[in-house]
């Protein structure tokens, strides 16, 4: 049995291996191997044995390449510009105009795509082109895209929630249901912040021009149907009880395939590009997940969960105090670690604490994903900030930093809200299950 210091040293070694640039999966495998060798000796390593096959051969994990493929197909289905234009029709009359379109388009697109880099790059390309000709406060424009693109990992279907569910044995259906309200609420918070900022300082945004004639707007509304339909069918299939998450993902893929075909975007080069991107991303995820399962297995044998529980009992921390500590912990970790690595790498030590304190794993999954969203937009390694700056390809990164601040505040407020009112997260899973 390991003592808490041993566990802390092990965690530090894993972080150290990550920071010297080893692949994240390798750092986790190596930490597991090291722990097993120091405390037990080589035979224990082999006791993982056929688990490797059963982990990778799991039908649940089939969900991952399928959702990734769904996103990649949608990205290339030729709908982004039309969707953006149609959202503009309806959202641009709010104070803040096109800024709301950015948030709406990101929320809608990333809900089905699930990759925040792809969302930031795709919406960023369309949006920044649109803003070229307009007099908006540029940092705020950049901030809306960087922040909006984080919504996808929270709004289901989310690959990150699937990975969390697989590693912690939490129901994917419940996690997806739990992500809906916080996702919508966060979207709303973003829009309220934009509206408030523009009302206080009108020079931040252009005054909206006259809206397009009603029949045109209604005609363009059909461009919003495909992404919405995919979302509704995929989620409906899961909650209607007639499809597992994996089957729902397959339905989404088939719908996206026919959508691309209908738009004339389907051809071999498009399809093959989507395939290669899908295989790369899902294999990258599968390697990390496999390594995490291995590390979790060793961590369990070593008795890390018991050690962590003792620490918590000795410290006498309440669940709320622990969560506040974890907010700080993840804020700091998010400054250095890539988001998925942050989640997967901390689950082995943090999850026992959560379960020991009686915190609901569904609630914690959503908490963790919002902390990941924060990490995506906090300097110095907030990936989305760099992607938006990269798409913009001129000016200073500092502009993006300034523009993101209000949205960082919104996310912190969101964290506060779900701590004070856990029902925001738990209501839908409880109603649906």
């Amino acid at each position: 049995m390991i003592d808490p210091y041993g566990a802390a040293i092990g965690f530090a070694i894993m972080l150290g291996l990550m920071f010297i640039g080893l692949h994240v999966g390798v750092a986790m495998l190596a930490t597991g191997v090291l722990g097993a060798l120091v405390y037990f000796g080589p035979p224990v390593l082999l006791s993982f044995g056929t688990n490797l096959w059963s982990v990778m051969n799991d039908f649940l994990l089939t969900t991952i390449p399928l959702f990734v493929l769904l996103g990649e197909l949608l990205l290339r289905a030729g709908i982004t510009q039309k969707m953006y234009d149609s959202l503009t029709d309806w959202l641009s009359r709010l104070p803040g105009g096109l800024l709301h379109t950015n948030i709406g388009a990101c929320a809608m697109f990333s809900a089905v795509s699930g990759s925040s880099v792809a969302t930031a790059a795709t919406i960023g390309t369309v949006a920044l082109d649109e803003f070229q000709r307009r007099a908006y406060h540029e940092p705020l424009v950049l901030g809306t895209i960087a922040a909006g693109a984080t919504l996808g990992i929270l709004i289901p279907p989310s690959v990150n929630l699937i990975i969390y569910g697989a590693l912690t044995n939490t129901s994917i259906g419940q996690l997806f249901a739990a992500g809906i309200l916080p996702g919508l609420l966060l979207t709303l918070l973003f829009m309220v912040i934009i509206a408030a900022a523009v009302l206080l300082k009108p020079s931040l945004a252009e005054r909206p021009g006259p809206p397009a004639p009603r029949h045109e707007r209604l005609a363009r509304l059909r461009h919003l149907i495909p992404p919405l339909a995919i979302f509704v069918v995929v989620m409906g299939a899961i909650y209607g009880g007639w499809a597992t998450p994996t089957e729902a993902a397959a339905i989404g893929v088939v719908m996206a395939f026919f959508l691309a075909m209908g738009n004339g975007a389907l051809n071999f080069s498009m399809l093959h590009a989507a395939f290669i991107a899908t295989m790369k991303t899902s294999a990258m995820l599968l390697f990390i997940i496999t390594a995490a399962f291995f590390l979790n297995f060793i961590v369990g044998l070593l008795g890390v969960p018991q050690a962590m529980s003792r620490v918590i009992t000795d410290l006498g921390l309440s669940a709320t105090e622990m969560i506040l500590i974890l907010v700080l912990f993840y804020l700091v970790m998010g400054c250095f670690l890539e988001t998925l690595s942050m989640m997967v790498g901390t689950i082995p030590v943090v999850m026992p604490v959560i379960l020991h304190l009686g915190i609901d794993p569904v609630w914690f999954g959503i908490f963790l994903v919002i902390m990941m969203e924060l990490a995506l937009i906090t300097p110095p390694v907030g990936m989305n900030l760099y992607v938006v700056q990269g798409v913009r390809n001129r000016g200073e990164l500092a502009d993006v930093y300034r523009g993101i601040l209000p949205f960082v505040a919104a996310m912190l407020a969101m964290i506060g809200l779900i701590i004070l009112f856990p029902q925001i997260v738990m209501l839908l899973p409880e109603v649906l299950y």
């Binding site: 495998l29 051969n57 799991d58 994990l61 493929l69 790059a121 339905i251 893929v253 294999a283």
Partner: protein
């Protein structure tokens, strides 16, 4: 390597259509195709390990570069090499466990506990082949990086350094 991605993609697309057909058959005709979920598991396991090799050549396996990029160029090059050698070793470790799984299946003549009764050595040997290819690819990358070092640190960087943001955006737009 591209061909791995393309074939794997067709496998996933085919699987999606198969699943949808299965759902329709089940709902509309009360008739169930057996074993679609089992096939799905094999598709992920096999495309997954071969995909890992593809991801290794594309430098798509996640690395944390926040500290790395702040180190002297020479040390970066050394750590890049180390990372790919370690990736090869990690893959070899997984392949060794995979080999033990496969040899058990062969020794006991294991078949899947489902109506399909698939002899497990068939999917498992393909899966293991993917793991081996993953390990070899990682070491091949390390060798390429080493060879590129003769043309200077920048040349080696282009082979092994984590992709820059510009490259990732380029990738997302493809």
């Amino acid at each position: 390597m591209r061909i791995i991605g393309i074939l794997g993609g067709y496998a996933c697309l085919g699987l999606s259509f198969l699943i949808v057909v299965e759902i329709l058959a089940r709902k509309l005709f009360n008739f169930s195709l057996q074993g679609v979920d089992e096939i799905g598991g094999y598709v992920v396991a096999i495309t997954g390990t071969f995909g890992m090799a593809l991801a290794a050549t594309a430098r798509a396996h996640t690395r944390i570069d926040v500290l790395l990029l702040r180190l002297p160029k020479r040390i970066q090059a050394g750590l890049n090499l180390l990372a790919y050698v370690a990736l090869g070793l990690g893959a070899a470790f997984m392949a060794y466990m995979g080999w033990r799984t496969l040899s058990d299946s062969l020794a006991f003549g294991s078949v899947s506990s489902s109506p399909l009764q698939v002899p497990l050595w068939i999917p498992q040997s393909l899966w293991l082949a993917g793991l081996l290819l993953f390990g070899l690819t990682a070491l091949w990358m390390a060798l390429r990086g080493l060879a590129a070092l003769r043309n200077g640190l920048d040349a080696a960087d282009r082979v092994l350094a984590p992709p820059s943001i510009a490259e990732e955006i380029e990738e997302a737009r493809k």
